[in-house]
């Protein structure tokens, strides 16, 4: 069974929008995805039908919102294969999930001389929290290098991983290179030296089947807005035995059991990590996004995107004299992200030009400055990233627009 892309497209109201009078071609899905009406409707239903605070009202609306909120947690936990809904903490986004892990687990378990191993292809969100923690604790950051082709260079992994390694924090899929990393293998080796593994799954959970028990990871963070859901909500999975020992991240209402003027006791899991009124509507919207993705099947989603990526790489190959393309060539090791750069047009200028044709791409450092500058050796790249509603026609439009942009710039930039 293949996905009916035309039917899918009809579920996304924004895809019929005109930009400068031209149909929108949305190729910035690695930044954020568009939302189907089923998700939008779930938000409307909540606010129109049962808006109330959760976990504390005895009235009908509060009971309904609590039930729907926890139902969303069950759905999302099930989607990533968590053993129990209690393993899933609702956070604002991947960044907050990683910060929660760094503050609650990291601060208590990483000390002077310990090592935190990350990769050179991390998004700032899985780099900066660890840098700060390492500085505060006198720990050392170490890096798994990136090869010329844009995959991880694992040749020194056995030295990089040692008895001082307390944590391996790595991306499942690079938001710049599209590389899908062998997190399960690396995780097994990390566990063998007694380290924990945290997976930044912001780019993988939306696009491929992800199962935390199969990956055998200790932490896994992801964002709703990249997987058809609303902004401002995401999830952090934590393995039970780790979660039970973790101190709270934020404190206040909702996360407590009993409070006196002198002390407080913590609530059960996972509420212990959800201080204050949570993003109720967002969580329910994320639950609707999970329903939508599950109705398609994540295997199908992944297969469809691989097909589109293959088509894109093949189509854009015609421009390989004008553009450098980054990322692995093995389609089994890459997701639907294509980064490129031309010595003749700065990505920023390219982004503006494509925008004139209604084509939305991303231009910049993609929140991975060290990778872009030190490894790819450029200041910025242009990036096209795909999702379930993108088509081969849109890839053709991208190629045509890139050609037009090159022509425009070479015409206007012809040396005098």
């Amino acid at each position: 069974m293949t996905l009916d892309v035309e039917k899918i497209r009809r579920d996304f109201p924004i895809l019929s929008k005109l930009v400068y009078g031209k149909p929108l071609v949305y190729l910035d899905n690695a930044a954020t995805s568009q939302k189907p009406r089923q998700v939008i409707q779930a938000l409307v239903d909540y606010y129109e039908g049962y808006n109330a605070n959760v976990h504390r009202g005895v009235h009908a609306l509060s009971m309904e919102s609590t039930e729907r909120y926890e139902e969303a947690r069950r759905k999302v936990a099930g989607f990533i294969g968590a053993p129990s809904p209690e393993n899933l903490i609702f956070v604002r986004n991947t960044t907050e999930g990683i910060n929660l892990a760094a503050s609650s687990w990291g601060a208590a378990n990483i000390g002077p001389g310990d090592e935190i191993l990350v990769t050179e292809m991390e998004h700032h969100s899985n780099l900066v929290p660890w840098q700060r923690l390492a500085k505060a604790k006198g720990a050392r950051m170490r890096f798994i290098p990136v090869t010329e082709e844009g995959t991880l260079d694992l040749s020194d992994l056995d030295t990089l991983l040692n008895h001082r390694t307390k944590l391996v924090a790595m991306t499942h899929m690079s938001n710049v290179l599209g590389a899908i990393n062998p997190v399960k293998d690396i995780g097994a080796k990390a566990h063998a030296v007694g380290a924990r593994i945290l997976i930044d799954a912001a780019q993988s959970v939306p696009h491929m089947p992800v199962n935390v028990q199969d990956l055998d990871c200790d932490f896994l963070a992801f964002s709703s807005h990249k997987m058809l859901g609303p902004t401002g909500i995401g999830g952090l999975y934590v393995r039970s035995e780790t979660l039970e020992k973790m101190e709270p991240f934020l404190t206040g209402g909702e996360m407590v059991l009993e409070v006196t003027y002198d002390y407080a006791t913590w609530n059960d899991l996972p509420m212990r990590f959800e201080a204050g009124t949570p993003n109720i509507a967002g969580s329910i919207g994320l639950g609707a996004a999970v329903d939508y993705l599950e109705s398609l099947g994540m295997e199908q989603v992944h297969r469809r995107e691989r097909e589109l990526t293959a088509y894109a790489l093949d189509t854009l190959k015609e421009l390989s004299e004008e553009f450098n393309f980054y990322g692995p060539t093995d389609l089994n090791a890459r997701g639907a992200i294509v980064s490129f750069n031309s010595p003749d047009i700065h990505p920023h200028d390219l982004g503006t030009m494509l925008d004139q044709g209604g084509i939305a791409i991303r231009a910049g450092h993609h929140c991975a400055m060290p990778l872009i500058r030190d490894r790819l050796g450029v200041a910025a790249t242009a990036r096209a990233s795909f999702y379930i509603y993108n088509t081969k026609d849109e890839v053709d439009l991208l190629k045509a627009a890139l050609k037009d942009a090159l022509r425009y710039f070479s015409k206007t930039l012809a040396p005098k």
Partner: protein, 153 residues
């Protein structure tokens, strides 16, 4: 197939801008300059490094820029280096304000437009709000450099 029309872009990518981008003026460095500053746009990675030397009358005697980025940010820096030569620090500050007024869409007098010279070509940036930072980067960097220099005097 649609045509990708770039008519709208001719305002942004004026001949003058593209010429400065392709053939930047005063690109380089000055050893131990009186005034120096580095500007960086964290959103897109554009970078401009400015260096100025002043003469005895505290007028800009030599100026150079380096860095990397899009056509707008680099052309704007190149135009800056030509404009500020021979100017006092107060006059360069005025130029910086004039550019902001231009991009803001304020009415400018003939005398002001005259002062701006080729910088007027950046007028088109106004219709591309996301690129305003690119156009202003070099000038904001200059403002910072002068402030730091004057603070140290």
């Amino acid at each position: 197939m649609r045509d990708t029309s770039f008519d709208q872009l001719d305002d942004l990518y004026q001949e003058v801008i593209l010429d400065h981008y392709r053939n930047p003026r005063n690109r380089g460095e000055i050893p131990s300059p009186h005034v120096s500053a580095r500007g960086f746009n964290p959103y897109c990675g554009d970078e401009v490094i400015l260096a100025l030397n002043l003469d005895d009358g505290r007028r800009v005697d030599a100026v150079a820029f380096s860095g990397q980025g899009c056509s707008i940010s680099q052309a704007s820096a190149s135009i800056l280096t030509e404009l500020v030569k021979g100017k006092s620090l107060a006059e360069t500050r005025r130029l910086s304000q004039l550019l902001r007024s231009l991009i803001h869409g304020d009415e400018l007098t003939d005398e002001e437009l005259d002062l701006m010279g080729e910088m007027e070509a950046l007028r088109g940036v106004r219709r591309f709000p996301i690129r305003v930072k690119c156009a202003l980067l070099a000038w904001a960097t200059l403002d910072d450099g002068i402030e730091e220099y004057e603070g140290g005097q």
